[in-house]
């Protein structure tokens, strides 16, 4: 197999209506992956368990995982884009992560 063949089964669809996919393994930036039959080059590296856009979406769209909403997009995303705290916000409670310095919290969402 040539090296640019899409990695088989690298993305997991949890429910048919979902608009995001879950990385079954760490995936490098530039890796070709298959999304609904199309080959997409991953724009960013994606860690195990992280989410990737199944299609292009507008800001404000609800992201569905397990067939259920997990929040709303705060920015437009392209197909294959990494979906996480930088572009997805809770519809309930803000999410807190530790800043890169490991010393203070960053609040995501409810903007």
């Amino acid at each position: 197999m040539p090296n640019d063949a899409p990695a088989a089964g690298s993305l997991l669809l949890m429910s048919p209506d979902d608009n995001c996919l879950i990385a079954r393994m760490p995936l490098a930036a530039g890796l070709p992956v298959e999304i609904d039959g199309a080959v997409v080059i991953l724009p960013q590296a994606v860690q195990l368990g992280h989410k990737v856009a199944r299609r292009a979406m507008r800001a404000g769209e609800r992201v569905l995982r397990y067939g259920a909403p997990i929040g709303s997009l705060s920015a437009a995303v392209a197909i294959g884009a990494h979906i996480h705290t930088h572009n997805l916000e809770s519809d309930y409670l803000p999410t807190y992560t530790l800043a890169g310095d490991g010393h203070h919290f960053i609040e995501h969402g409810q903007s």
């Binding site: 990385a23 989410k51 397990y66 259920a68 809770s90 409670l93 999410t95 807190y96 992560t97």
Partner: protein, 401 residues
């Protein structure tokens, strides 16, 4: 179905362990109690207690339920002497349950050294007394199993949590009572849960209970979401919730219980761990073990703990079985994990196979095999101030009067 063997108690319940609990009734008695426990490193002597000096009805009730838990065979109460906690009522409750009990009040017992010596002597006597107890046949319909997730990541909701859900369905079918919890981590699942309630009134209570949790956490200014959850690919509270919710399986929800309430027969129960009324004492559960203690106070014989990032905790009183969701975490923390559910993600096992492994693990641990955390000596315990109103009639629709 008598496929287990348990220690019979006067209240009709059976225990899967026969431990001596050493219970301190204020932080000032903690050191003495710990020294007594430390004198029995390889024996079933566990440390529990309440640190506060101010009275709290919830803490009193929890200590009573824990000291008379079916896994407990005898209790040593260690009191300083001037704290608010009612040691006499705890002593009387344990005595009334038919268990050996002894109270040491440090201020009336010549201080630290003499109290440690007296406590150690009594625990040695209690261990000898319990050693003669025979186990009797115990059915799966006498078993109470709890579940909790901690150190969750994005794999938790794909592997370990749905596998525990399948195990729950199997156990409930066999007659066990199973408890899931943490309504703060069920935010976003309330209307789906409502449809699983055995009565419409219970469904309404479930929605109210989650709304209470969302409000409480909003006032606290921080949801039940840790930085490691986001590192592991979870972005929002509701995404974490949906994954956590998978632990509940597919059985109908039989009722809502509050910390210390007993289950009433086979079925799936939701434990409401978020305090009632205006927030007074801080976060509902300051860490995973606070929830585990509440599950145990509801009678749980053992707890299925799913983890993606990799928690290592166990518990006093009831064994904790670790189900590891993430295949990479399993490689790093294999010695701490009982079940490797990450094999589902790597395609080496199916959900059904791992679900059955969890059931097998429950049966083995219930029959006396130590779980990994138990074998490693984990006996975490934490109890803090909280307040609850009794669960309303809508919460327990089919309980026998």
């Amino acid at each position: 179905m008598s496929i287990l063997a348990g220690y019979p108690r006067a209240d009709g319940r059976k225990g899967i362990r026969n431990i001596v609990a050493v219970a301190y009734t204020v932080e000032c008695a903690h050191h003495v109690a710990r020294l007594v426990v430390n004198a029995f490193p390889d024996q079933p002597v566990h440390l529990i207690g309440f640190p506060g000096c101010y009275p709290n009805a919830y803490a009193d009730r929890m200590m009573h339920k824990l000291a008379t838990h079916p896994n407990v065979g005898a209790v040593l109460v260690v009191s300083l002497g001037c704290e608010s906690f009612d040691r006499n009522s705890l002593h009387a409750a344990v005595e009334a349950s038919g268990r050996p009990v002894h109270t040491i009040t440090i201020q009336q017992n010549r201080g630290t050294r003499a109290s440690v010596a007296a406590g150690t002597e009594w625990v040695g006597w209690a261990l000898d007394a319990l050693a003669g107890q025979q186990r009797v046949p115990m059915g799966l319909d006498e078993l109470v199993v709890a579940t909790i997730c901690g150190g969750s990541d994005s794999t938790s909701g794909i592997t370990a949590n749905p596998a525990v859900g399948l195990a729950f369905d199997t156990l409930i079918e066999a007659g066990s009572a199973c408890i899931f919890e943490e309504t703060g981590e069920l935010v976003g699942c309330e209307f789906h849960m409502q449809r699983r309630a055995v009565t419409p009134a219970l469904g309404e209570e479930i929605v109210k209970c989650v709304a209470k949790a969302a409000r409480y956490y909003t006032i606290m200014g921080h949801g039940s979401f840790a930085p490691g959850n986001a590192d592991g690919g979870l972005t929002t509270q509701e995404e974490k919730s949906l994954g956590a919710y998978a632990k509940s399986g597919a059985s109908p929800i039989a009722g809502i219980i509050k910390p210390g309430d007993a289950t009433w027969g086979p079925g799936l129960y939701l434990l409401d761990v978020v305090p009632d009324g205006e927030p007074r004492f801080g976060f509902p559960n300051i860490s995973d073990n606070a929830e585990i203690v509440e599950l145990i106070a509801c009678g749980a014989h053992l707890t299925l703990f799913t983890t993606g990032r990799g928690s290592v905790v166990g518990s006093a009183i009831s064994p904790v079985i670790k189900v590891c969701a993430n295949p990479d975490t399993y490689i790093r923390l294999e010695e701490d994990m009982d079940v490797n559910a990450g094999r589902i993600l790597s395609g080496e096992a199916t959900l059904a196979q791992v679900g059955q492994e969890i059931v097998d693990s429950v049966l083995a641990v219930a029959n006396g095999t130590p779980s990994r955390s138990e074998d490693l000596g984990h006996q975490e315990f934490i109890l803090t101030y909280k307040q609850f109103e009794p669960a309303g009639p809508g919460c327990h629709p089919l309980r026998a009067a």
